[in-house]
């Protein structure tokens, strides 16, 4: 038995190590690519997750309220924050998703919430009013239109992202 046979030559040693290290590097590069390809969660430009909120077929011309939850992280813990959106299709068939948060002081507004003001959003706190497209009605406390959610439709499902002031969304 000669010991020589079992010795690893310089060439072999380099081969082994390079394939090994190269393999790791390749895996490191490829796996996130694969993950992105398979990952069904949608993200908006800022990397924020978008949340599945409704089925497109359930959306009508009449605003309906959909409730959902988003994960929020503050300095100490991650928690789920309940959110809602008023969603409808406008005359052009385009989806509009409005934030229900009153631009006055933040109460939740309701569609047709006031008998005297049909087809408007109503804020019960200080009687703020908004038109169907979210425009604030002059003479009521709110001074800006309702925010709009960024949205995406994928496979018949509506996903919502961040609510943004009108003009930005």
């Amino acid at each position: 038995m000669s010991e020589k046979k079992h010795r690893v030559s310089r060439r072999q040693f380099l081969n082994y190590t390079l394939t090994g290290v190269g393999g790791f590097m390749a895996a490191g590069i490829l796996s996130p690519m694969v993950r992105f390809a398979l990952d069904p969660i949608l993200k908006d430009e800022t990397g924020q997750e978008m949340v599945a909120v409704a089925q497109v077929k359930d959306i009508t011309n009449e605003p309906q309220r959909f409730d959902f939850k988003v994960k929020v992280k503050d300095a100490w813990y991650e928690s789920e924050e309940p959110k809602s959106a008023w969603v409808y299709k406008d005359e052009k068939g385009e989806i509009v998703a409005l934030s229900p948060i009153c631009k006055h002081l933040g109460c939740t507004v309701n569609w047709n919430g006031d008998k005297a003001n049909p087809n408007r959003f109503f804020c019960p706190c200080h009687y703020g009013l908004y038109e169907k497209d979210g425009t604030n009605v002059p003479g009521t406390p709110p001074i800006a239109p309702l925010d709009r959610y960024e949205y995406k439709v994928k496979d018949g499902t509506l996903y919502l992202g961040k609510a943004k002031p009108r003009g930005e969304a």
Partner: protein
């Protein structure tokens, strides 16, 4: 609004709009603890949800906490002083939320505790939002009757 630095700041700038104080009542006990813990938890859950929807008009006050075996009159007196103080500070409407059937005074919103422990999440949410809705209706009707 909540009793936090951020919200109190907003409150100071919009004081005339925030005219309603919401006081959750949380009981403490040494016996039958589970039932009382449930009452407190339930009241806080609903109070937080009401605050979320009525943020611009309602200030959620930190809970009024008491021992269930406190002497009744002294306890009522203590709560009365809380309400008086809030009234002096500009709150025109003061609502106390409780799940403890011992309280029968005016201006109380009674929320019977729900047996939530064994209920699945979806159904739980339904039950809770029903109560939240009812409580909010009470608020709205009180607001409109005085205006």
């Amino acid at each position: 609004m909540k009793w936090t630095v951020k919200d109190v700041d907003a409150y100071m700038q919009a004081k005339e709009y925030v005219d309603t104080a919401l006081v959750p009542l949380v009981p403490l006990a040494c016996a039958n603890v589970k039932a009382f813990a449930e009452m407190g938890e339930h009241v806080l859950l609903i109070a937080n949800e009401i605050e979320r929807q009525f943020k611009g008009r309602v200030m959620l006050i930190p809970p009024f906490t008491y021992w269930v075996d406190e002497e009744k009159n002294a306890l009522r007196e203590r709560l009365h002083r809380w309400k008086e103080k809030l009234g002096q500070n500009g709150f025109r409407h003061i609502f106390c939320l409780t799940a403890h059937a011992d309280w029968t005074e005016d201006g109380f919103v009674y929320l019977p505790p729900l047996p939530l422990e064994h209920v699945d999440d979806h159904y739980k949410q339904k039950l809770v939002s029903k109560q939240v809705e009812q409580a909010m209706e009470t608020f709205i009707s009180k607001w409109t009757e005085k205006n």
